[in-house]
């Protein structure tokens, strides 16, 4: 059996996904090309050697439309023989891209693949691609498809995570992310973004709030109470009638931020790596993807992680370090509770609550963050997982070499 190895992982800093954000000044393709160039330079790659590029993107329209993967390869000046495709597994697109690259390599049909993701949420706003789940009333009402924030509030309500609890989790994310920055834990993967003239646009995540505290967090308004009152709360209760009413505990402070960013991972087999002088950092031990009840939506990670673990005969206790995407505080708390994971080994450097969630790019970013931290702590097995719209979950297990 071929093994799939990770040779390198890079990511852009995350810029605020609005007009005043530093990365709003560049096109999405610019961010993706920057990661391609970084991978190429850091590994002294002759891009002819690459078989394919798999790029996750959640809103693949306009500037991100019509296969941005191939467009970016050409724009970055990669060899014209390298193919590219764009995939969409919503929030886990970037992680799914890596998993797909691993499958390509493990099948033996390809040797070296780049995989990652791109999302310029400032240039191509979320939901601007329409879609049946949200914008076809027949589909929405038949499925019971509610906004994710309301789903997160539903989890919090059912599990009894009150506002204090989710805010406390959020504060921990901010504190951990700041600590990680102060100690340069991210420097291995992060690449600064320059303009055409080499002027730096951004070299550090822009969303960090070093001065936040519980008091500030507690003053933020619930973000999903109004949309819930349109009828989405009712839709949630239709599926979960044991709930008296939805407690809207999520705010902009304890949910993931809207940001811009791109990420890329270099995946290949041993022989190809050796031939090109690439040093394997970890192998992709197992993956899991599945789907769960779509209305509550954000409970896919636990079963996805278990699926990945089961495939290699492992249990949650075998995992030394965890990354679970901080889409919403309650989604992480629920996952932590279901899997019985200690605070010290979950999202140890903060996550999307503190630094933002550039949709399609996040998965490959988290994978890089996990790998960096495993190396720093000298651990051997780690798992990254993500909750996904409509109930899906994706997980990847890494083992260091």
């Amino acid at each position: 059996m071929n093994e799939a190895y990770i040779f390198d992982a890079v990511r852009t800093p995350r810029g605020k996904g609005k007009r005043e954000g530093a990365l709003y000044q560049v096109k999405p393709i610019h961010l993706l090309a920057a990661t391609l160039n970084a991978i190429k330079e850091r590994n002294q790659l002759n891009t002819k050697e690459i078989d394919d590029a798999v790029i996750g993107c959640v809103t693949p329209v306009n500037d991100q439309g019509a296969n941005i993967a191939k467009a970016a390869l050409l724009y970055a000046g990669w060899d014209e023989g390298v193919g590219g495709m764009q995939i969409n597994r919503f929030c886990a697109s970037g992680l799914e891209a890596v998993n797909l690259a691993a499958m390509k390599v493990r099948s033996g049909w390809e040797d070296l693949v780049v995989a990652g993701g791109i999302e310029s949420m400032s240039r191509v706003p979320l939901e601007s691609d329409g879609g049946a789940l949200m914008f076809d009333p027949e589909v929405q009402n038949k499925v019971g498809y509610i906004p994710q924030g309301v789903a997160a509030d539903l989890i919090a309500t059912i599990e009894g995570f009150d506002r204090k609890r989710v805010d406390a989790y959020a504060l921990q994310s901010y504190q951990r992310a700041n600590f990680a920055y102060e100690n340069n834990y991210f420097e291995k993967s992060i690449i600064p973004i320059h303009d055409k003239n080499g002027l730096v646009l951004l070299d550090k995540d822009e969303e960090l709030r070093p001065n936040t505290n519980l008091d500030k967090l507690s003053k933020l308004n619930p973000a999903f109470a109004e949309i819930g009152s349109w009828g989405y709360d009712t839709m949630a209760l239709n599926k979960y009638p044991v709930v008296e009413r939805i407690e809207h505990v999520h705010t902009a402070g304890n949910s993931s931020g809207v940001v811009d960013g791109a990420s890329l991972v270099l995946v290949g087999n041993k022989e190809k790596g050796a031939a090109l002088g690439l040093k394997p950092r970890a192998r992709i031990l197992s993956i899991g993807a599945l789907s769960t009840e779509p209305t509550i939506m954000l409970q896919g990670p636990a079963p996805a992680a278990l699926k990945a673990l089961k495939r290699v005969g492992m249990t949650p206790k075998d995992i030394e370090l965890w990354e679970m995407n901080e889409a919403f505080a309650a989604a992480v708390l629920k996952f932590q509770q279901d899997m019985d994971i200690s605070d010290d080994i979950l999202n140890v450097n903060g996550g999307a609550i503190a630094m933002g969630h550039p949709m399609g790019a996040t998965g490959a970013m988290l994978l890089g963050t996990l790998l960096d931290e495993m190396e720093r702590r000298d651990l051997s097995v780690g798992l990254v997982t993500m909750c996904v719209a409509s109930g899906m979950g994706v997980a990847t297990i890494l083992e260091r070499i």
């Binding site: 601007s128 329409g130 949200m134 914008f135 076809d136 009333p137 027949e138 929405q140 009402n141 038949k142 949309i227 349109w230 009828g231 989405y232 009712t234 839709m235 209760l237 239709n238 009638p241 044991v242 709930v243 008296e244």
Partner: protein, 709 residues
């Protein structure tokens, strides 16, 4: 059938006048009759001999809706689809002879009748408040079948079309103008035709926007971002109010959204397909049964005692200017009655008149009544503190609070001044009419008139026959209720009459579920999701737990030795006596209430009634709460509390909010399947007790293939 007249300005007036009918209705016949007419018009146009067309009616109605009998009997999808497309192609012919066509609407045009008006290029209606216009199909679980949805989409834009199609309203001419479904109003027939002609003389082309280069839907299509967001909100709101129980509203929204993304002709096909789907669905059959067939049966007086001349009251008296009395005053003046409102002092009585004025102002804002009408109506109200004003009243209704002594006193005071022939009505909730009638000098003229709050919205009145109430009085009460456009159902003087008695079983079953260990939130959520207006526990609080218990005690009294205690009684007893939680009035019942009336389940409730049923069956919870009501309704029928299934169905829907999409408490059985319903009851009887036993009147239907009708 169609009279053809052409004037010197080359304008053709087509007058619909269907032979052998009082009204024009839309059917195959009229479609066929139009074929040669349209052909001729096209030929005239080709010769340059046609400037425009006016379509009007030779009857009182312009054009009535489609044929419900036909649709109820239709079983074949292809046939229904073709039927609706055939009409649509007729409408298309009508709008495309190449010259403009005006609908000169001189009478009511509803449903398919209005779809034809929409197929004209311009609509002018006579300002007659009796005329009704629009698309009330949704109230029968249906949507327009032949292009009307798409024409409204193109005429009004998606959002406004959605509201017009789903609010189920029959608009007056002024309202219709306000919402934009007609273009102009004329004061009489003459002005209407004149205006039609003027419009035709200045309009050269009869091209519709959807057939024009660059024609667009107002405000945009579902592809536009802002419209897409509006649709999301509408869709969520729809779920909030219907819980997926009303496919017609959903189908209308689906049709508008999908129809906005494709060309007009394809859109009308999508409309026809969705229409076909609804016609074949259960909800249409249930709702048409209740709101059309049952409604017409009651209205035609099937249960009115025979042999008594029609009662035409001109002046009525109302005792008590509270919300009920004021509401009765409102609906009465709106139907042309003179009203005397009496209360303990004139200023108190004046409050009743102010209420009417406030409501009428709301109606003016909606375009429902005019300023002049409002003034006329208010002039008909006299307020007083003196019963002497009842001298020439044909009927006096007391709506004072629920106290036997007070009710007796006002009855006697009023009767002193009323003539012998006049009626006295009591708006009693729970005190038996026969008991109250003892205070009356003329108990044969004494009748229960049970209105439901809010009076202007609930279209039902229970006419309660006391022991001594004469048949003639019932007949007269029936005529009065009909005159104020309410649905009269005649009920026997029994505890809770029909509505409150049956409603109580829903509440008791909900309470029983609590006692069995179901989560309280689940009980109320599932009740609402099944289509009840409120959850059982919430409703118990609102009515007060003492009243709930009192009704059940009356039932116990009635059945005597045969009575088996309902398991909910123990819970009620504990709540009332042990926990001192009697309901919303005291801010403490199953829920706790804050100063603003916001409620939250009582924190200790699950301590006293611990949740043990974690793996509940949604179906069983729904069925237990609905079956309890259905069976009690059937008992009422068997015990002759109500006289007909039609009254039982509409009484259940309007009286206590039995889910309308089920067509009422009796239609529920037919919809479920008579035999399977009986079998399921027997299962529940075994599991949960005798209260699920099936009354004989229903049991004997088993295996016969008959419906309960």
């Amino acid at each position: 059938m169609i009279n053809y007249k052409k004037d010197t300005d080359k304008i053709v007036t087509l007058t619909l006048n269907m032979a052998g009918r009082n009204i024009n209705i839309i059917n195959h016949e009229i479609g066929k009759a139009f074929i040669p007419v349209v052909k001729h018009l096209k030929a005239e146009k080709a010769k340059g001999e046609l400037k425009g067309v006016i379509i009007t009616s030779g009857k009182k109605t312009f054009l009535a809706g489609g044929d419900l009998d036909y649709l109820m009997s239709a079983k074949d999808a292809e046939e229904i689809y073709n039927f609706s497309q055939k009409l649509e192609s007729f409408f298309k012919d009508l709008e495309s002879p190449g010259v403009p066509v005006v609908a000169a609407i001189n009478g009511t045009a509803l449903g398919t009748g209005f779809e034809m008006a929409l197929a004209c290029h311009h609509r002018i209606v006579i300002d007659d408040p009796k005329i009704r216009l629009g698309h009330p199909e949704v109230t029968l679980g249906l949507m327009p079948g032949s292009g009307g949805v798409i024409r409204l989409l193109w005429g009004l834009g998606l959002e406004q079309a959605y509201h017009v199609l789903t609010d189920g309203r029959r608009y007056t001419p002024n309202e219709a103008l306000k919402v934009g479904i007609v273009d102009d109003i004329a004061k009489d027939e003459h002005e209407m035709l004149e205006k039609a002609k003027i419009w035709l003389m200045k309009t050269n082309e009869g091209r519709r926007p959807w057939h024009s280069e660059g024609g667009t839907i107002p405000h945009g299509t579902a592809r536009d971002k802002n419209i897409a967001q509006i649709i999301r909100k509408i869709a969520a709101e729809l779920m909030h109010y219907t819980h997926n129980n009303y496919p017609a509203k959903q189908a209308i929204l689906n049709t508008l959204v999908e129809g906005s993304k494709v060309d007009f002709d394809t859109a009308t096909k999508i409309q026809s397909r969705n229409f076909t789907n609804l016609v074949l669905g259960k909800e249409f059959r249930n709702m048409a049964k209740a709101f059309w067939f049952d409604f017409n049966e009651i209205k035609s007086g099937g249960n009115r005692p025979k042999g008594y001349g029609k009662f035409r009251p001109k002046k009525i008296g109302i005792i008590g200017a509270g919300t009920m009395g004021s509401g009765i005053a409102l609906v009465s003046v709106m139907r042309g009655l003179e009203v005397i409102i009496k209360d303990i002092s004139k200023p108190v009585a004046d409050r009743g008149k102010s209420y009417v004025e406030k409501k009428l102002r709301e109606y003016i804002d909606r375009g429902r009544v005019s300023e002049t009408e409002k003034k006329m109506m208010l002039d008909k109200i006299t307020t007083t503190e003196n019963s002497k004003s009842f001298e020439d009243c044909d009927l006096v209704i007391e709506a004072v609070f629920e106290n036997e002594l007070v009710k007796s006193k006002v009855t006697q005071e009023a009767e002193e001044h009323m003539d012998e022939y006049s009626l006295f009505g009591t708006n009693t909730l729970s005190i038996p009419v026969s008991k109250l009638a003892k205070a009356s000098n003329r108990p044969e003229n004494y009748v229960g008139l049970h209105f439901f709050p809010p009076v202007d919205e609930v279209p039902l009145v229970e006419i309660v026959q006391g022991e001594k109430t004469s048949d003639e009085t019932i007949a007269r009460a029936f005529d009065f209720v009909k005159q104020i456009r309410k649905i009269p159902i005649i009920v026997k003087d029994n505890w809770g009459f029909y509505a409150a008695r049956v409603q109580n079983t829903f509440i008791l079953e909900g309470i029983t579920l609590l006692q069995e260990g179901y989560t309280p939130a689940l009980i109320d959520n599932i009740g609402i999701q099944a289509g009840m207006p409120k959850g059982a526990l919430e409703l118990a609080d609102e009515l007060s737990l003492e009243i709930i218990l009192k009704y059940e005690q009356q039932a116990a009294e009635h059945y005597g030795a045969k009575y088996i205690q309902h398991p909910a009684v123990k819970v009620l007893d504990k709540m009332i006596n042990e926990y001192k939680r009697t309901g919303k009035k005291r801010k403490a019942g199953f829920y706790s209430y804050d100063e603003n009336g916001n409620k939250q389940l009582w924190e200790e409730l699950t301590e006293h009634f611990p949740t043990t049923q974690c793996n509940y069956s949604r179906e069983e919870v729904i069925e237990r709460m609905l079956f309890a009501q259905v069976l009690e309704a059937v008992w009422c029928y068997q015990e002759k509390i109500i006289r007909s299934v039609a009254e039982g169905n509409l009484g259940s829907i309007h009286g206590w909010g039995f889910p309308p999409y089920k067509g009422g408490a009796f239609q529920y059985i037919n919809d479920y399947g008579v035999d399977t319903f009986i079998e399921k009851c027997q299962m529940y009887e075994k599991a949960h007790g005798q209260r699920f036993s099936v009354p004989k009147i229903l049991l004997k239907k088993k295996g016969t293939g008959e419906l309960i009708e």
